[in-house]
Symmetry: C2
Subunit: 314 residues, 2 copies
């Protein structure tokens, strides 16, 4: 079924302990759609400036991504500059230039409006709803957000969440949004805001999924080399939603678990190189192999029947 | 098979966001043996002072724990005072009084010397080897340590590690010991120091196990209420080693995985209340139930055969 993403298509400048890059392809919609495209076509709603390299559009188009909703406007492309310390879990933003993104008013091409699966990337919650308003009957809506919107546009964000099926947040965002330190309690509180599921992303540790009484913990595949964590969250969402959209409407617990592991797997590839570089060479076979690896990593057998009989107590 | 632990039996004073306690039962050997005792008898080597309450000894003895190697010496018991912020993953030590522990020279009762399973709690690595020297033919030696010994007695610690089968460390200790920031690389480096396996404990996130090419990630059971993380690491080791010692010498990958999950399960109970209080009421049935919960938490199915065919790429 058709999958739509709204978010940023950006030029990033990055400093990590392993090197730096200037004006490389970035943005939530870029990472999301590149990852989702392994599972099927993805429709992008975003805006770039006159300076945005044609080659980047060519890369996305070659992956079967529908760019009819990607507007090119006078001015410069959205730019983000960030730095990572040795603790690669935390990004320090050095500079944000909205540029053409400041006037962004999403206007969906007619053929986008029947999309069943919608991912609202991390943008102003007003704009997230403006996109939803243009989709006729979304079947499953995923949503990302960040500390900036949680603190500055909380009411608008809560209105968006009422229309969302699943929220993707990290630990800190979950705590801030729920105003509750314990992650389990925070997730349960967020479920009262509207979403029927929430994924709490925990960087190199993996992710927790909560929905009703269902709890699932996906361990991230431990990586010996992480170069650039930028886009990990959007890659996670792209793998998750891409898989879901390819499953003909199935939303049962087993499907959600596989989707979360695929999200984690796609994110694990993204961080192995700068920008979207690893995704350029990534093959479906590699995704399958790492999924199997994630399964071997996490699985263990039932306890033997004779255990826990030797000690005291009943 | 017989299991022996050397470590501290202490009186702890704790401050957490949820309350405070003065002079409660603590110490690595207390937590370890209480958890291991669910699987079978455990022999304790430790020292306490004249002020150590009989009731605490009564509690341990009632759990079938062998206290013949627990010496009572003139002076005060080892005391530790710590504080936890809302981030319960990190303990801030406010005060440490070694007291009778300062002169501790482990001397094993004759019947301890045939122990097949040995856990060297977090004490001076010289003392860890002094204990090992008194065990005739240990089959499996587990070992804990901390930043203090890694920096102040590195050479001695490395001599201990040459005689150890499995090291239990947290992320920060693994990085410090291996002098390598990436946890995967750090674990692989530690395996070159002697141990054939290493467990990297990651607090509320779970634990990673490395041995040869085998990697296992155990997610911690997400808890809605964590009161006091003190003793989580020793409870983990106690559950792990207690189970292992009950398995008649089996050390295959499957057994190690179940042992790690049981360690994680025991730790998850310990942190639910102050001191060893939760362990006092804990039943084998509750351990089994939470083990099953940990399994439901972590498991997921194979990918369907038709996934990843819709996108581009090969």
């Amino acid at each position: 079924m058709a999958l739509l993403v709204v978010g940023s298509v950006a030029l990033d400048s990055l400093e990590t302990p392993f090197g730096r890059r200037e004006d490389v392809l970035g943005g939530s919609a870029s990472y999301f759609s590149a990852c989702a495209s392994f599972f099927g076509p993805t429709r992008v709603v975003a805006v770039v400036g006159e300076d945005f390299p044609e080659a980047h559009l060519g890369f996305l188009a070659a992956r079967g991504i529908d760019l009819d909703g990607l507007a090119r406007r006078p001015g410069r492309t959205f730019r983000w500059k960030g730095r990572y310390e040795f603790d690669l879990n935390t990004a320090h933003t050095l500079d944000t230039q909205l540029n053409v993104f400041a006037q962004f008013q999403p206007d969906l091409p007619a053929h986008y409006r029947d999309s069943e699966y919608v991912f609202l990337g991390n943008i102003d919650p007003d704009l997230q709803r403006a996109v939803l308003d243009q989709v006729r009957s979304p079947r499953f809506v995923g949503c990302d957000t960040m500390n900036f919107w949680i603190s500055s546009k909380r009411e608008s964000l809560l209105r968006t969440l009422e229309r969302v099926d699943m929220l993707f947040v990290n630990d800190a965002e979950a705590r801030q949004l729920a105003e509750e330190h314990n992650v389990v309690k925070a997730a349960r509180r967020i479920l009262t805001f509207g979403p029927r599921a929430v994924v709490v992303k925990r960087g190199e540790y993996g992710a927790l999924y909560f929905s009703g009484d269902e709890v699932f913990a996906a361990s991230a595949v431990p990586l010996a080399s992480v170069f650039d964590p930028t886009g990990a969250g959007d890659s996670f969402a792209g793998g998750f939603m891409g898989y879901l959209a390819s499953r003909d409407g199935s939303l049962d617990h087993g499907t959600m678990r596989r989707a979360i592991v695929l999200g984690s797997v796609l994110a694990s590839f993204t961080v192995e190189q700068f920008s979207l570089d690893r995704l350029r060479s990534l093959s479906p076979r590699e995704i399958r192999v790492r999924y199997a690896e994630a399964r071997r990593l996490a699985h263990f057998d039932d306890l033997e029947a004779d255990v826990l009989l030797a000690g005291t107590g009943d």
